[in-house]
Structures are given as C-alpha cells and as structure tokens.
Amino acid sequence: MILTKAQYDEIAQCLVSVPPTRQSLRKLKQRFPSQSQATLLSIFSQEYQKHIKRTHAKHHTLEAIESYYQRYLNGVLKNGAAPVLLELANEVDYAPSLMARIILERFLQEHEQTPPSKSVINSMLRDPSQIPDGVLANQVYQCVVNDCCYGPLVDCMKHAIGYEHEVLLRDLLLEKNLSFLDEDQLRAKGYDKTPDFILQVPVVMLCPSAVEGHIIHWIESKASFGDECSHHAYLHGQFWSYWNRFGPGLVIYWYGFIQELDCNRERGILLKACFPTDIVTLGHSTA
C-alpha cells in the first residue's frame, strides 16, 4: 500500500485521540475500506506510539500515578468485575497496557518490601496469573488483550510478523535462486552493520515507471508501514549505514510506505511494498 503523503495525512487525522482498541480499528477500517487491515493497524500503531511518546511524561508524574492508583482502587472496590482499568486508560487517553503497568508497579511497591524489578513486572504483564492480587490480575489482563498497540501481546505479534516476513523474503530469494548472506551469517563474519540479507551477486530492479534500473546489493525487510518518522530513523540508523558499506539496496515495507519517502532511489536506497517482480540478474535478462 503505497500512500501519498496526503492520503496518509488523512488517515492520521482520524487517529487523533482514538483509543488503541479493536473497536477503533474496526471503525477505521470502515472509514478506509480500500486499505488493508494490516496497513491501517500499522499506521494506527505508529501514530498512537507517537501520541504516547508525546504524552508519556505526564502520566508518569507521582501525582498522576497516585491519582490513577486511587481511582483504580475506588473502582474495583465498587465493582471488581467492571473494566475499571481499561476505562481509566481510555478516559485519560493512555495505552491500556501502559496503564496496567503503572498500576501494577504502584501496587507492588505497596505490597512488596523491595521495589519490583523490571523483569518481574514484564513477566507479570506477560502472565497476569503471577500477580498476587486476583482482581488486579484480571484488570491487567483485560488491558493487555484490549490494547492493540502496546503490551507483551503486541510486542510478540510484531516480532512474529517481522520474522515471518523475513522468512517470506528468504523463501522468495531462494525461489528466485538469488544467493545471499543473512543477518546471522553476517554477524558471524564480523560485519559491523547487518541488513537482513546481502545478495552475494547483486541484481538490477527495473522500474516500469522510471527509465532505468537500480542495482541492489542488500535487502532489508520491514514488516511495518513506512511513515516519515520511522523511515528517517531507519535511514539514519540502518539504511545509510548499509549503503556506506555495501552500496545501493532495497527496503521492503511490507505494509506500504509514504510515496514521497522513496526519494533516494538515485542515491541508492530503494523502497518497495513487496518483493520486486522485474529483476535482472547477472548473466540473464529477466528473472
């Protein structure tokens, strides 16, 4: 899904202050039926993360934490089965998973002698049954499963998606008979920067629209939507570094990207939303 900047902005506009829930996503899907769910989710997630990054600090002041905790306690006191925590998160416009973490941390501080370590909390978020308080466990669980942007579940999903696409890409490369070195092999050889795949024999990708083709030395798979923010971060931390070492290469944003970002083709960084079909290999005309 390659979107123009304008299209992207239109979608992003709809995402202002929308809680990261299934319902929100469903509505979004109805609003933009032509876009795939995955693309919308990815955009949603990224926009939401930006939003959270901006507001993160204000939810972590001592006062805020105290106030949330009190509201939680009051809530569950009234009705332990009600989605107290989730509603609280939505009400204050914060990610449910993160809200759960705040409350959990605060809870453990109160009930344990030593301040809880990060790993303990992470572990409890992953498996709420470890939480000593049954009501809180339920509340936390509710938050985690309803949050489509944050939380261990989402992290796990993202990781899985990333891995899947790497495998997918690997299969495609094998299918096309293009030999490559993968990240692990590169690391073993002592490369200081490692794209997902370095082609041992470069290929040329022909662009139907443009006059010429582009040489590709490496391919990076990104199972996300390429928006400005993430792309610039990637450029700086990864893509240019790859170019500096291996020459021009290809980035596949499986969930699409903003068209205008594909402006470094001549320089040697090429964006695609899928595996290129029109490639020329050394010694053959078209594969």
């Binding site: 293009l178 030999s179 050889k189 002592g190 490369y191 200081d192 920067k193 370095i198 041992q200 024999v201 470069p202 290929v203 040329v204 006059v211 010429e212 083709g213 040489i215 030395h217 240019w240 570094s241 170019w243 500096n244 070492r245 291996f246 020459g247 021009p248 320089r267 020329v280 290999t281 050394l282 010694g283 005309s285």
Partner: protein, 1174 residues
C-alpha cells in the same frame, strides 16, 4: 621569441588607455583597446584565481592581471620588495643586466639616445611627446586593469638565449641587423619597468583585497564592438621577409624546447591569429619615426595583417604538434578563414589531419559516489585494538558518508560554505578518531573513497573532446557563438584558468581538499601522507606493459588495449594521490608571499633543509629516468611539486629535482623521433605538464633560464626499452591530464563566436550526429545493465576476486586470439595455398598478378573469418570457468563462483571477439598475403602438385655438384651447365659453339645427383632446375641443340635424343621433389620451336607426351587441354594442320600403356613425313 609583455600606458591627452604588446624581442604593435585577444583568458584567469586551490590563494586578481601571467598568482610581487631574494634574485639580476639575451627586434621609434635611460623607453614603446619623455616612470600607470587589454602574460617572460649561440636561428641576412643595438640598456630598462609594474601590482594587491568584479565584466561591451574583426589580407603584410625570419627563429626555439611552455606559445600564436583589430599606432609616432629609423626598427607587427601572417608562419612550422590536437581544435583551425586566406596549404593539411583524427569523445561518466565497501578481512572487529575503536570507526564511517552526502547536496548552492556547514561535524568526528587511535582505518577509507570518486576524468570536470560542437552547428551560425560559449561552460564549468591555470581541485576533489582543511588534524594529515606515499610508491613501481603494439603480432594488440587503459588508470591515480600528498605535505609551509628579506629566507632555508622530504621523490624521479619510465613518474611528480611553497625550489633537494626536470624538458625535442626514443604523445604530455609546472607561481621565474641547458643524458647502456618508448599516452589521456590545452580550442571558438556572421567554413558540411549517441542511459540497454551489474557484483567482494576474474579474462581473451590464429587462420592459410595452386593451374602462366590473386583468395576466405567469433566464444566458454575455479578460494560460495565464471567468460569473450571482429579480416589477409607471396616466390609462379619433400637418402654423402654450379656459369667439373646449354640453344651462337651429346648426358646425370642430395638444394634453385630441364626437353624434342661435331651432323641422333629424354623423364619422376612445370612443354613458345625445324618431326614430341602420361607425370586431360589451347595461337597454316593431326593422333591412342610397341612405331622416320604431308 617570447611572451608578449603588456606594458600599460595611458595617453593622458586623450584619456584613452591602451596597451602595447611588447616582448623582449618582438614588439607587437598595439592591439585594440578594450578588446581583446585575451579577454577570455583574463577572465578565466581571474576565476581560476578566485577559485584557487586553498582559499588562501583567492587573493585579488585585479591588479595581477596587468602584468602577471596566467596562473601567476599574486605572488608576482615576489621580487617587488627589494629583489633581494638570495641566489635567485642575484642570478636574475645578472641575467637582466649583463646578458645579451633579449635582442629587441623592434626598437622604439625614439631616436636611439641610448645613453639616456630616461629618454629611452625601454619596453619598446613609441616615443611620446617631449612631455611624456621627461617622466618615464609615469608611463607605468596602474590604471584599472579592466580598462586594459592585457594579453595573457605568462609568468616567465621567455627570453631566448643569446642569438649568437643559436646557430640555426641566426640568418646571415641579419648580420647587419640592429638586434644587438643598445641591447644592454634596453634590457635593463625592461627589467626596471617590470620591477615597477610589480611594485604597483603588489601595492594594489594590498589595497584592494577583494577581486574587482568589474574586471571580468568590463570587456563585454568591447567584445560586442569587437565583433567586427578587421579582415586580414596577405597582400598587405608589411615586411614579409622579416616576419618570416622571426617566425623561423621563434619556431626553432619552440622546437628545441627553449621556451618554458610550448602550449603557452601556441596560445600566443593563436591569439595573434585571432586578434580582432589593432589600434593603429599613433600616426604621429609612425610619421616621426619613419624618417629617422631604418626599416628594421619599425615595429614588427604593424597591422593585423602582420600578426596573422606571423601566426600562420609559425603554425606552419608547428604543424606536427597541431596535428596531435583534438578534433575540435583542428576543425576550428581548419575553419579559420584567416588561416585559409594566408596559407591554403596549411589549411589543407589541417583539414586532412582533422579528417584523419580519430574522434575521441569521452562520454562523461556520472561520478559514481559509490561507497568503499566493507570487507570483513580488513574491517571487522579483529582488525581493531578494542571494541571501542571498532564501534567508533563504525560511527565514523557513517559520519563521513553523511558529510559527503551533505556536501553533494549543497556544495553547488550559492552561499553554502564547507567550513560553516560541515566543519564542526568533521572536527567532532576527528576528535573521536584521535581518541580511538583508528586513524589508519579512517585514512584508508578516505584514500579509497578519494580514488573511487576522483579518478575517473569525468568526475574531475574534464572536458569532452571531439566533435560535440557539431550538434550545435545545426542550430545556425548566428547562435553558434553563444551556444559555443554556453557549451564551453557546460562542459568545463570550472576549467577556466587559461592556458596555465593554478593547481585546482575540480569536482569531487574539492570535497577532499576541504575535508582536510576543515579537519585540521595533525594526526590525520600524518597518517594520510604515510598512506598516500605508500600507495604512490606501489603504483609507481607497478609493472606496466613494456612491449609495443606489434604490427606483425596480432595477439599482442588485444593485450595492448587493456594495457594502455591500465596505464591511464595508474597514471591518473598517481597524479591524484601525488596532488593530495603535495597539498598536505606543503600545507604547513604555505603562504602566498615569499619571505621578504634575505635574512629571513636564509633562516627559513636553514630550518627547512633539515626536514626530510615526505617522500623521496628525487630517488623516484631518478629511478624513473633511468628505467625509462619518465612518462609515468614525471606527470605525478609535477602534480606533487605544483603545491610546493616558495621555499621548496630553493632547497637543495628539490632544486636538484628541478634541475633534472629542466634537463628532461630540454631533451624532449618533438621533432626527433628515433628508434627507442620516447613516443611523440608521451613527449607532448611531459612537455605540457612540465611547461605548466614552470608557470606555477611558486616556481622561480628564472629557474628555466638559469639552468644551463645541457641536454639530458640518456643512459643508453642501461636502456632496456622502458615505458617511454611505448605509445602509452593517447590524445584522451593528454587532454585529461592537461585540460588547459583545451584553451586553444576555446580561443579559436571565441573567434568564431565573434565573427559569427562569417563563420561557415566546412561547419555545415559535417553530418550532424544525433544526441542520442552521446547521451544514452547506459542502464537502458541490457548490455549496459549487465556491465553495471558486473561492476556492482565486484563491489562487495574481496578485491582479489576482481583481480582474479580480470586476470583470467585478460589471459583467456589473449590466448583465444592466439588459438584462433593457430587454428582457424592457419587452416584458412592452408586453404589459400591450395586455392592458389588451383588458380595458377587454371589460369596458367599469365594469371599471375599477385595483387589480383590475393584479392580473389581473400574474397573467398575472409567470410570464413566470421567463424572466428563463434570459435572464440566457444574457446572462452570452455577455458575461463576452470581457470577461475582454480584461482578462487575453495570456499567461495557457489553463486559467487558461478557469477565470477560467467563474468570471466563474458569479459574474455568480449575482449577476444571485439579484437577478432575488428581485426580478423585484416589478420587473414595478412597471413594469406604472406602465404601467397611465399608460394609465388618459391614456385616462381608455376603450378605444381604438392609434392612431399624428402631429404637425402641415408647413404648420401653430399658430394653432389652444387646446384648453383649447375645453374650458373661457373664450370667446375662439368664443362658446361644448364644455362650454357640453354643459351647456346637459344642463340645467338658462334658457328663453332655447341655441346656434345656426352656433355648433355653428363649434365643430366649431375642434375640427378644434385637433386638426390638435398643438402644444398633450396626450393628456388630446384624450381629453376625444373624449369630448365623442361626447356631442355623442349629443345631436344625440337632438335634445337647444336651438337659439336662435323658440320654435316649438327643434329642429335634420334636415339641419343630419346635416351636423354628418358633421363629427363626419370629425373622429373623420381628426383624432383618440387613441382615441375611440364605443361611448359606444350606452351606455344616451346611448341613453336618445332615450327622452325625442317622437316618437322613430331615423333619425339608424341613420344614424350605419351611417356608423360604413362609415367603419371601429366594427366591425359591436362595434355589435351594444353594441346587444345595451342590452337588459339597464331601459327603458319601448315603447322596448324600438323598440330591438329598430332592432337588427333594423341587422342587416338588407346589409354592402355603399351610402351614397347609405341617406341618401335615412333622410330619410323616415314611417320613424321606422313604427318608433315597430310
């Protein structure tokens, strides 16, 4: 004759300023005010200076242009402040005052009151009124340069050596000339005036630190005015003879390298050629002078006609050099209507040279800003001291490229400043670097990137040569000039430094220069110098092709292409590295001014002389000269030295280098082309770069003239042929290394643009080339795509892989050609030989025009040459993969290996096939030609069956008579020889002369011996003997051999004749190993012998013919064919009839051999009579 020196004068009365061109020897009369022969030059010089090499140089150009030459920076003031510059200054002084070097051809029209310095205007100006005369110093009026038409004055005012010392250049006609007249004074005042100019200039420099922008602008109005160039007329040349002589002297000086810079002189000459107008010398001047002066004191150039005449004369002398200029320049020269008008012959030669010149259009390759690839072998953690160093360098690599990208994006934006934009980023990075001790890694990256980006000429802003202007010529003559100008700018945006631009860092080089300056890191510079020095040593010592492209040796041509390319690559890399080495090495010492006082200079010298040179360039130069590799070493050394500061040439170490270079320069006489000497273009390259070096501001002016020019001694003893004698330099390389040669073309082009209305020439006749051929996207074609992919493939592989593949391709390609030559071509030559035999048989003796034969053979065989390509392809496909496999590491991944193999096959095939397709026909021709002439030579144009040669029999003791004895007149054991016999038979002979039948028999038996002993028998001798024997047989048959004996019996007895014939038959059959031209027996001439005999006796002939058939020496059909063709000749009537009968008889004979019977029959004498009567 030298560089013209402008002396700026202002006519106070008219307020008009004007310039006179004056050289020490020549005076060029005033050139038009406000217009310029050199306006372009000056503009460009200004630009060149402002975009100077390090920013420090970007001083004010304004005043400098009044007298300083192109490329002569503000440093021209070096002598201004007192002139006490140590040895150099002293030396200069001595030259100025004492030597008779500057004979002034022209003298001022002043009354030669030489004793009065004030009254004698030294720079050859015409006398002012009395008022002007009293204050000579005022004449040097530093009016703003923009007002002046200052011709390019080179830094070194070329002064020819004393005329008396130059034997060739002293025409006797000038014995009484006033050349020596008043010379010392003239020189002194000249010097004085120059000093004054310099002082003024330096004053101006200090006063106006910013370049006067008006300088380049101001010529423009005058330029439009200048469009109406004065026409030059050969008939109006004022003193032809004198101009001719001066042109001769001048040309000789150029030819003998007595001028510092060859191209500067050419530039000057072209300026003369294209001068638009001359401001007439003031009438009063001429008038007043006319009476008082004799003809030789009149200014040399009195009119534009004189200028053009002189220029054309010199150009005629310099034609050889001109013919090596690029196509564009040749065209412009050939199109120049003045030149045509003054010397149609020269125009014709130029045009021929233009047409014969190979267009070398260099397609500008886009500067590939490819990054240096990461190689685990050298770049991974194992190569660093610590994790920290490893990770720091990781970041630095990224920062470096970030900076590079930023520079690429912004450096052309107006107002963007490198230091401001990137300086702090770079320094931050460098400080990290210092902390992490990874300078060597970074320097390696830096140097590799430098080579990668700047090595290709295109990225360095090189000019496109050849006929690119033709596209523009389509657009019409009116716009031509402007378009040309535009084109010049587009093609060479920053090459505007005139014929002697200061050293610059064009294109991407600027980035690296600025990076070094901004980084200002001592550690970095040191590491960089270490690394550059090492690389220079490595490349300079690289084994490069030593063999010449052989005409006779086809396959070496294949290698040759690649080797020449390799040389160019190495040379360009060396120049680039040396330039940066020079830049960094002399960076700490650089200042625009020389030390002001002698004391200061001495102390600096004392300091500097103890500093060891960064790289032992002197040793490398000496080594280069000894091993005849000057063509490689000198160009980069010049680059290195061009960055030297003012002190450097004074240091003993470097001074000796300059001495060597001067000696070398002197020795490079272009007109001498001896075997084993340096090739023309090699010399031209060296002359160009050395000439350029001699104009660099920091090189002392006098250097050139002070070194007494003993020619460079070539150590012939040690001369195994070095690179110098191999034509490694081509025009492309010459222009790439010396883009300023292109200024000649610009000058000519600006003439065209000025005289647009009349431009034409053969501009329009040239078929316009389409732009598509120039500018196609290489990636569009699948071939280009594949080539790019191949390049890309190597990028991330270890460098050894590339070397291996290229090596394999190179060798296999070369072997392939050898193989084709040994197989296909050899087969074709074989075929040619047998075809030739056939041809000779069918055409008989008269079909013998070798050229025609060759044509026939080639037309039949050359088409087979096409097979060479398929066979070559097959060969490369078969051989390359195994070689690649054997040479690459076992562990190479399969995909990499197979790609490498494919590329090797591809490259080898391309190499072989491109050579084959271009040369196979010529190769076949050459080989066939050789074979044909070999056959024709050995066989004496006679057909024969191929007979296997045999040696002597084993028992042979080689005592047989020598063939030469048999043939020649020397009579050793025999009393006569073949030739004697034949000549006797042929007559005229004395009545008492003759041979005895015994002699004949003896002769034939000796012949047999000779033939059986092969020791001394060479094919031509055997051929000759065969021919003689056939003729002898004919004589026998015709009974024409005079026999010694009683007068009544002059004829050979029949039995004897037959016996001799038998001997001959057996010789032919058994002893001759080469072909015997038996068909000659039936040639009209030999048969005609029979016609003279009375009565005619045919039986011997018939006998012979039958024996020939029987013994298998000739085929029946062959004889029939011969007999048949006999009818076509003109015979007496009765003879024809007899011939017909003979023919019938021969035909009537049964095919079965019945020798006995026949022999009996034929003896009957009546048979012959019957024949004769029937």
């Amino acid at each position: 004759v030298g560089r013209l020196e402008p002396s700026v004068r202002t006519d106070h009365l008219s307020g008009r300023s004007w310039v006179r061109w004056v050289s020490p020897e020549l005076r060029v009369s005033p050139v038009a005010s406000g217009l310029s022969v050199s306006s372009g030059l000056r503009e460009s010089r200004t630009d060149g200076r402002t975009s100077g090499w390090d920013g420090q140089r970007s001083g004010p150009p304004g005043a400098g242009s009044a007298g300083s030459g192109p490329g002569r920076g503000p440093g021209g003031s070096e002598e201004g402040a007192g002139g006490e510059n140590g040895a150099w200054a002293g030396a200069r002084r001595s030259r100025a005052s004492g030597s008779p070097i500057s004979p002034r051809l022209e003298l001022s029209s002043d009354p030669p009151n030489l004793s009065n310095l004030e009254e004698f205007p030294p720079v050859g100006t015409v006398p002012q009124g009395p008022a002007g005369r009293t204050k000579p110093s005022r004449r040097i009026n530093p009016t703003p340069v923009s007002e002046e038409r200052s011709l390019s004055k080179p830094k070194t005012c070329f002064t020819s050596p004393p005329i008396s010392c130059a034997p060739t250049s002293q025409p006797s006609a000038l014995d009484t000339s006033p050349w020596g007249l008043g010379l010392p004074l003239g020189c002194r005042s000249l010097q004085e005036e120059r000093e004054m100019l310099r002082k003024e200039r330096s004053k101006q420099l200090q006063q106006s630190p910013t370049p006067a922008c008006s300088t380049p602008e101001s010529p423009i109005p005058s330029r439009t005015e200048s469009l109406t160039a004065e026409s030059a007329d050969p008939a109006r040349v004022s003193s032809r003879q004198r101009l001719e002589l001066v042109a001769l002297v001048y040309s000789s000086c150029i030819a003998e390298n007595l001028v510092p810079n060859l191209f500067l002189e050419l530039f000057f000459v072209l300026q003369l050629l294209t001068a638009r107008r001359m401001v007439p010398a003031k009438d009063s001047d001429l008038e007043s002078s006319q009476g008082a002066l004799d003809s030789l004191e009149i200014p040399l150039f009195q009119s534009i006609h004189d200028c053009v005449f002189f220029a054309v004369q010199v150009l005629e002398h310099q034609f050889q050099v001109l013919s090596y200029l690029d196509k564009g320049t040749l065209k412009l020269l050939a199109e120049n209507e003045r030149l045509l008008c003054f010397s149609p012959a020269l125009q014709g030669r130029l045009r021929a040279a233009y047409e014969g010149s190979v267009a070398k259009v260099s397609l500008m390759m886009p500067p590939s800003a490819q990054a240096v690839s990461f190689q685990p072998e050298t770049d991974n953690r194992a190569n660093f001291f610590s994790d920290r160093a490893f990770h720091t360098f990781k970041k630095q690599r990224d920062v470096f490229y970030e900076v590079l990208r930023e520079w690429e994006d912004h450096h052309e934006e107006p107002g963007w400043d490198f230091e401001k934009g990137l300086g702090s980023k770079i320094r931050a990075m460098m400080s990290q670097l210092s902390a992490a001790c990874s300078h060597s890694h970074f320097v390696r990256l830096f140097q590799k990137q430098l080579l990668q980006m700047c090595q290709s000429p295109g990225s360095a802003g090189g000019t496109v040569l050849g006929e690119a202007p033709d596209v523009l010529n389509m657009l019409g003559a009116d716009k031509l000039g402007r378009l040309r100008q535009l084109q010049e700018r587009l093609l060479a945006p920053q090459s505007s430094g005139g014929p002697c631009p200061p050293p610059t860092f064009p294109g991407c080089q600027g980035f690296f220069r600025d990076f070094i300056l901004s980084a200002s890191s001592f550690q970095f510079n040191q590491h960089l110098m270490d690394s550059l020095s090492l690389k220079i040593r490595e490349l300079n010592g690289l084994a490069l092709p030593q063999h010449k492209p052989g005409d006779d040796d086809g396959e070496s041509d294949v290698d040759w292409q690649g080797e020449r390319k390799q040389f160019a690559m190495v040379l360009l890399s060396l120049r680039l590295l040396a330039k940066f080495l020079g830049f960094v090495a002399f960076l700490p010492y650089r200042g625009s001014e020389p030390p002001p006082t002698r004391e200061l200079q001495d102390s600096i010298l004392a300091l500097r002389s103890q500093v060891p040179p960064v790289l032992d360039v002197r040793a490398l130069l000496q080594q280069g000269l000894w091993t005849h590799r000057a063509v490689l070493t000198v160009p980069w050394l010049v680059e290195f030295l061009s960055f030297a500061d003012h002190i450097v040439p004074l240091l003993d170490y470097y001074r000796s280098i300059f001495t060597l270079l001067l000696q070398l320069h002197r020795s490079l006489v272009l007109s001498q082309e001896n075997e084993g000497e340096m090739c023309f273009l090699n010399k031209l390259l060296l002359l160009a770069v050395l000439g350029w070096l001699f104009q660099i501001p920091t090189v002392p002016e006098d250097l050139f003239f002070l070194e007494e020019g003993q020619a460079f001694e070539v150590d012939t003893a040690a001369s195994e042929h070095g690179l110098d004698s191999v034509p490694v330099v081509d025009q492309q390389l010459l222009y790439t290394c010396c883009p300023y040669i292109g200024e000649l073309r610009k000058l000519l082009a600006s003439w065209v643009s000025g005289s647009s209305g009349r431009s034409g020439g053969f501009v329009r006749k040239i078929t316009p080339t389409t732009t598509s051929s120039l500018g196609t996207q290489p990636l569009q074609t699948s071939q280009g795509l594949q080539a790019q992919l191949a390049q890309a493939f190597f990028h991330n592989q270890p460098p050894s892989l590339r070397r291996t593949v290229e090596f394999v391709a190179e060798r296999i390609g070369s072997n392939c050609v050898k193989h084709i030559k040994a197989t296909l071509v050899a087969d074709l030559v074989h075929q040619a030989e047998s075809l030739l035999q056939e041809q000779l048989v069918t055409r008989g003796q008269e079909g013998g025009d070798p050229a025609q034969l060759l044509e026939i053979l080639c037309s039949q065989l050359c088409p087979h040459g096409a097979q060479a390509l398929t066979q070559g392809q097959e060969f490369c496909q078969r051989k390359s993969p195994a070689a690649v496999q054997a040479l690459l590491p076992e562990e190479t991944p399969a995909a990499v290996l197979s790609s490498a193999e494919n590329i090797a096959v591809e490259l080898a095939t391309e190499k072989a096939c491109s050579w084959l397709s271009a040369n196979i026909t010529a190769l076949i021709r050459r080989e066939v030609k050789a074979a044909v002439s070999r056959i024709l030579r050995t066989q004496g144009l006679e057909p024969a069956a191929r007979v296997e040669r045999r040696g002597c029999s084993r028992a042979c003791e080689h005592h047989a008579p020598l063939p030469s004895h048999l043939i020649s007149e020397i009579k050793v054991s025999t009393s006569c020889c073949m030739q004697d016999v034949l000549s006797l038979a042929a007559g005229p002979r004395d009545p008492e002369e003759g041979v005895s039948p015994e002699h004949l028999e003896q002769l034939l038996s000796q012949l047999g011996q000779s033939l059986r002993c092969r020791q001394f028998l060479c094919p031509p001798a055997e051929q000759f003997l065969a021919k003689c024997s056939v003729e002898l047989a004919s004589l026998l048959v015709a009974d024409q051999i005079p026999i010694l004996g009683p007068p009544a019996q002059h004829r050979l007895e029949r039995g004897q004749a037959r016996r001799l014939l038998h001997m001959l038959l057996s010789l032919w059959k058994d002893d001759f190993q080469g072909p015997v031209p038996l068909q000659l027996l039936l040639s009209p001439r030999n048969v005609g012998l029979l016609a003279d005999t009375r009565p005619r006796e045919w039986d011997l002939l018939l006998f012979l013919l039958r024996e020939l058939v029987e013994q298998g020496l000739m085929g029946r059909l062959e004889i029939e064919a011969c007999l048949g063709s006999l009818h076509e000749a003109q015979w007496p009537g009765d003879f024809s009839e007899e011939l017909v009968t003979l023919f019938q008889l021969f035909l009537a004979e049964p095919h079965l051999p019945e020798p006995q019977l026949r022999a009996c029959e034929l003896v009957q004498p009546s048979r012959g009579t019957v024949l004769a009567q029937s």
